[in-house]
């Protein structure tokens, strides 16, 4: 199963704001399960990259302190017609990828 990403982007004057909403529990590994007394196992997105036409523009690393179902917005230099791709990996190795062409 891959991680679900919804993304939007709009270019204005050579700069595109790329927004993404990701469906993910972002379990830090510190939260206790009160019934068993053991922590819920960690499952959070740790690596995020944003590509503009196959060139890496943003390389991010996250911890489990990023909110569940993360929202992210960044700005990249891109024009209409450029392809933006988001690639994600979580600490269990699950991956997600989504791309769009700027209008």
């Amino acid at each position: 199963m891959s991680i679900n990403i919804r993304m939007r982007g709009k270019s204005k004057g050579g700069v595109a704001e790329v927004k993404a909403l990701i469906k993910h529990p972002m379990e830090s590994g510190a939260r206790m399960n009160k019934k068993t007394g053991k922590p819920y196992p960690a499952k959070f997105i740790d690596m995020v990259e944003i590509m503009v036409n196959d060139t890496k523009a943003v390389d991010a690393q996250w911890s489990g302190a990023v909110s569940a179902n993360p929202y992210m917005a960044v700005q990249v230099k891109a024009n209409a017609g450029d392809k933006i791709t988001i690639n994600l990996t979580d600490n269990t190795g699950e991956k997600g990828s989504e791309s769009l062409t700027l209008k």
Binding site: V15, S28, M47, T55, D59, W62, G64, S67, Y71, V74
Partner: protein, 155 residues
């Protein structure tokens, strides 16, 4: 005989140098992986040292840090760091001062990106949010207190 032992020792040194080189190369390849040292650090200084190799950041008015004065739900605290007013931004990190592990996220920017990040983070209690910007090899920071009325680490 002497020459032989000389050769031997040179070879051994050569091997040692190669090993040292390999050792020196490892950290740079590890950098592409998740920075466990920085993210598992329990203090702000250790987190910054792990992420940037230095904890000496100077306060800058050019970083626009947008965070709520009061967060009703600490589990989803919207944070925006706008450093587009600074040239040559290489990286932005967001830290929550009193979280068990302060470093929340770190964004490295290539030539195709601007120094701007907006995200949502978890905060367990009232504390300072710190944005650290690396630009031109220097560390700059801005911070703001966020009052949390409901704890956020429960997710």
């Amino acid at each position: 005989m002497k020459r032989r032992s000389f050769l031997k020792s040179t070879l051994a040194t050569g091997a040692a140098v190669a090993a040292a080189n390999a050792g020196l190369l490892t950290p740079s390849t590890v950098l592409a992986d998740w920075n466990k040292k920085a993210f598992s650090a329990k203090s702000l200084d250790d987190a910054l040292n792990g992420a940037y190799g230095s904890a000496a950041a100077t306060a800058s008015g050019d970083i626009k840090l947008k965070a709520p004065a009061i967060a009703e739900n600490g589990a989803v605290t919207p944070i925006t760091v706008d450093a587009t007013g600074i040239s040559g931004v290489e990286s932005i990190a967001i830290l929550a001062s009193k979280n068990p592990m302060p470093l929340v996220c770190e964004y490295a920017f290539g030539a195709g990106a601007l120094g701007y990040v907006s995200t949502r983070i978890k905060m367990g209690q009232t504390m300072d949010v710190i944005a650290v910007v690396k630009a031109g090899g220097k560390l700059l920071k801005a911070q703001q207190e966020v009052k949390v009325t409901i704890g956020g680490c429960g997710g």
